[in-house]
């Protein structure tokens, strides 16, 4: 009896999990399906889920109109560059906060997080002027810097949480064995925190890839990433939903594939230290 209840519960929980998963994924699935429809089918009411004339014409037109690979390479450079630069700054910062906390460490952490509460548009003009005067407008370097700064509080917070789970005694032991500060960070701390660092890296690549305020406002033609590529297909006067869906699918495909292949690492990192 107990076994049958348990199995029933298992089935219910599994079905519920699938239903929630499908509900979350449905907008993406719908976008992908719409990208294979004609513009007329994209707005048909009632809409058809699979029974329509599948076409690749939207992808052809998007490819003809835009330079996808330029936007793609900009996205790769900006998201990877900002994440790696962020990690370079955040690992030592999180180390010091986790293992050598000062009286105001918690306040500093809260202050860093509070910068995320500021609406970005509030600092658009000062940053725009700084970028103009330093020649960073419409450059990948400029975007790497700004996205590093934007995501740095999250990177430090995540790493701080992971580092705190590592027993200080291990680091102490390495010090007794003669390890210097950088040896300790590189050879002892980093290998132990690899799952945490990897999930921080992945999450921040995703955040930087999807960032659409700064990437749209600080770029024009040269450094525009895939967010600008999508924005070029949206129109309030004209039904271009199928083409917009094709552009969106092309923009999200790389990050979806990356997320799919690294999901084990991502979940492991995100739940690191969750169960004691």
């Amino acid at each position: 009896m107990a076994r049958s209840i348990s199995r029933r519960r298992q089935v219910v929980v599994t079905l519920l999990a699938w239903a929630i998963g499908l509900a979350i994924f449905f907008p993406i699935l719908w976008t992908i399906l719409t990208s294979f429809k004609t513009e007329a089918e994209a707005i048909a009411s009632p809409p058809s889920l699979f029974m329509f004339d599948w076409t690749l014409e939207n992808y052809g037109e998007v490819q003809e109109r835009s330079n996808y690979f330029r936007h793609f390479s900009n996205s790769v450079i900006i998201s990877l560059g900002s994440t790696l630069l962020g990690l370079l700054i955040a690992i030592p910062a999180a180390w010091s906060m986790a293992f050598v906390p000062a009286k105001r460490t918690k306040d500093i952490l809260m202050w860093m997080l509070s910068t995320k509460m500021l609406p970005p548009v509030g600092v658009l003009i000062p940053i725009y002027l700084l970028f103009r005067d330093t020649g960073l407008l419409d450059t990948r370097t400029g975007l790497v810097i700004v996205l590093t700064l934007v995501n740095l509080p999250i990177i430090i917070w995540m790493l701080f949480t992971y580092f705190r789970e590592i027993p200080g005694e291990i680091l102490e032991a390495s010090r007794m064995d003669g390890a210097q500060l950088w040896d300790e960070i590189i050879y002892v701390l980093t290998p132990m925190a690899i799952p945490g660092i990897a999930s921080t890296l992945l999450l921040n690549v995703i955040l930087a890839w999807n960032e659409a305020f700064w990437t749209l406002n600080l770029t024009a033609a040269k450094a525009a990433p895939l967010t600008a590529f999508i924005a070029s297909y949206s129109s309030p006067e004209g039904l271009f939903y199928a083409k917009l869906s094709a552009a969106s699918t092309m923009a999200i495909a790389p990050i979806l594939i990356l997320g799919w292949f690294s999901q084990k690492q991502l979940v492991r990192g995100l739940t690191f230290g969750a169960v004691k």
Binding site: Y128, L137, N217, A220, A221, A231, S232, E237, G238
Partner: protein, 436 residues
């Protein structure tokens, strides 16, 4: 090969390289719509005629583009050499000296050929600050078959009373046929474009001559009551979230008897590839109330050159090409007359080939009946038919639009929506220093 020949070849190669290196690249910021996309496809013609100039396009969604180019021009960022801007921005930016005057375009450009209403909206102090790429007004698009079934005949210049009567007669909610589809989505360029233009024909205005908001008057109350009653009786469900695209989709799928919106929609609803009712569409002027003003707006997407550009001459050459008579002929040759950007030049409407396009005459009549300098029955201190050309208008009108959209959704009463509109507009106008 002697020394002289080799030297000559070397010099030629160098000069070729130098030509390539010297090619001037201009960056053009533009919106994503059919006419602009078509222009991008035809730019080989421009580069063939101007081999020293390369074009780089930045296409963005309208609202993102507006935010982007406003930031750039206000800070003299210099990212763009040509900007696509609307009729709203031109007077505001020109007063700030942010735009280059286009009065020195060559005589062959034939500035006098530009439609007077459109040219008037882009001219400040006698200087043309933007060249119109396409112009639009609003008009009634209606289903001839449903009108006939309702036993009515659409006049060329209907009144709002007729529209109300026809909309109710055409409505068949059981079969998902709604007599009229109008914008309800909140936004200064969404429901407020329609409602401001409609209010003009009801005798309402945004401000009196002392910049005092006028939402507490009867004219606005009559406008809003008429609109909400009409939409409740004959509009589609969920109309408070419908903008241009949602109504276009409803009309094309045969669910709207009438749709009052931008003239540019005419080419979409009559295109058999996308529209199920392409052969059943008729056109009429936007309605009036017998007060001398019609409820139609006036808009043009125009090409302007920011004052900070270092490539003014090349930018002018491009603007001249893209808004010329020759460009219209080029589009007609490649894409057909129905796809020529409408509403900018008198000569286009005198062309017998273009006259065959079913919506050509009504588009011209609609544009000509709008007067941005005298948009209302009573005098006003501002320019603009469906907008007020002051920098504060975008923010104020979007907030007012939210109140009116809520009234349409039934979450607030008409009186409350108007009272909120009055108080928030007064507050913002005081802050901006227009009134004390």
């Amino acid at each position: 090969m002697n020394y002289f020949t080799r030297a000559l070849m070397g010099a030629s190669a160098l000069s070729l390289l130098a030509t390539g290196a010297m090619a001037e690249k201009i960056t053009i910021a533009t919106v994503n719509n059919g006419d602009m996309v078509r222009m991008q496809k035809l730019t080989d013609d421009f580069t063939a005629k101007n081999p020293g100039i390369e074009l780089e396009w930045v296409t963005l969604e309208e609202n993102i583009l507006r935010q982007r180019v406003t930031t750039d021009i206000a800070t003299k960022g210099g990212q763009y050499d040509v900007m696509t801007i609307g009729t709203y921005e031109v007077p505001i930016w020109a007063k700030q000296d942010w735009l280059v005057s286009l009065n020195d375009l060559p005589e062959s450009y034939d500035m006098d050929d530009l439609l007077p209403a459109i040219r008037g909206g882009l001219t400040i102090g006698g200087e043309l600050y933007a060249a119109p790429f396409y112009g639009e007004s609003s008009m009634v698009m209606y289903r001839k078959d449903l009108m006939e079934k309702a036993g009515l005949e659409m006049p060329d210049a209907p009144t709002w009373d007729f529209i109300g009567k026809a909309a109710r007669a055409m409505t068949d909610k059981d079969n998902e046929i709604y007599g009229v589809c109008l914008r309800g989505k909140a936004g200064w360029g969404e429901n407020m474009a329609l409602l401001t233009a409609t209010a003009n024909s009801f005798g309402a205005r945004w401000f009196d001559m002392d910049w005092k908001p006028q939402f507490d008057g009867d004219a606005w109350k009559n406008t809003l009551n008429f609109y909400i009653d009409l939409m409740n009786d004959a509009g589609p469900p969920g109309a408070s979230s419908n903008g241009f695209n949602e109504n276009l989709s409803l009309f094309q799928s045969g669910k709207c008897g009438m749709w009052i919106d931008a003239t540019v929609a005419a080419s979409f609803v009559t295109n058999p590839k996308d529209s199920q009712v392409a052969d059943k569409v008729g056109f009429a002027l936007a309605p009036d109330n017998g007060l001398g003003k019609r409820g139609n707006w006036l808009w043009a997407w125009s090409l302007a050159i920011p004052a900070g550009t270092q490539k003014q001459d090349a930018a002018k050459k491009f603007v001249e090409w893209a808004t010329s008579k020759e460009y219209l002929a080029l589009v007609a040759e490649n894409e057909g007359w129905a796809n020529v950007p409408p509403g900018t030049r008198t000569s286009l409407y005198e062309n017998p080939e273009y006259a065959k396009v079913p919506f050509a005459k009504m588009t011209l009549d609609s544009i000509n009946s709008a007067d941005p300098n005298n948009p209302t029955v009573d005098p006003v201190p501002y320019v603009g038919v469906q907008f007020v050309a002051i920098p504060e208008f975008q923010g104020i009108a979007t907030s007012v639009g939210q109140q009116f959209s809520a009234a349409l959704a039934g979450t607030v009463s008409v009186d409350d929506a108007l009272a909120s509109a009055q108080s928030l507009t007064e507050r913002e106008m005081k802050r901006a220093g227009y009134i004390k």
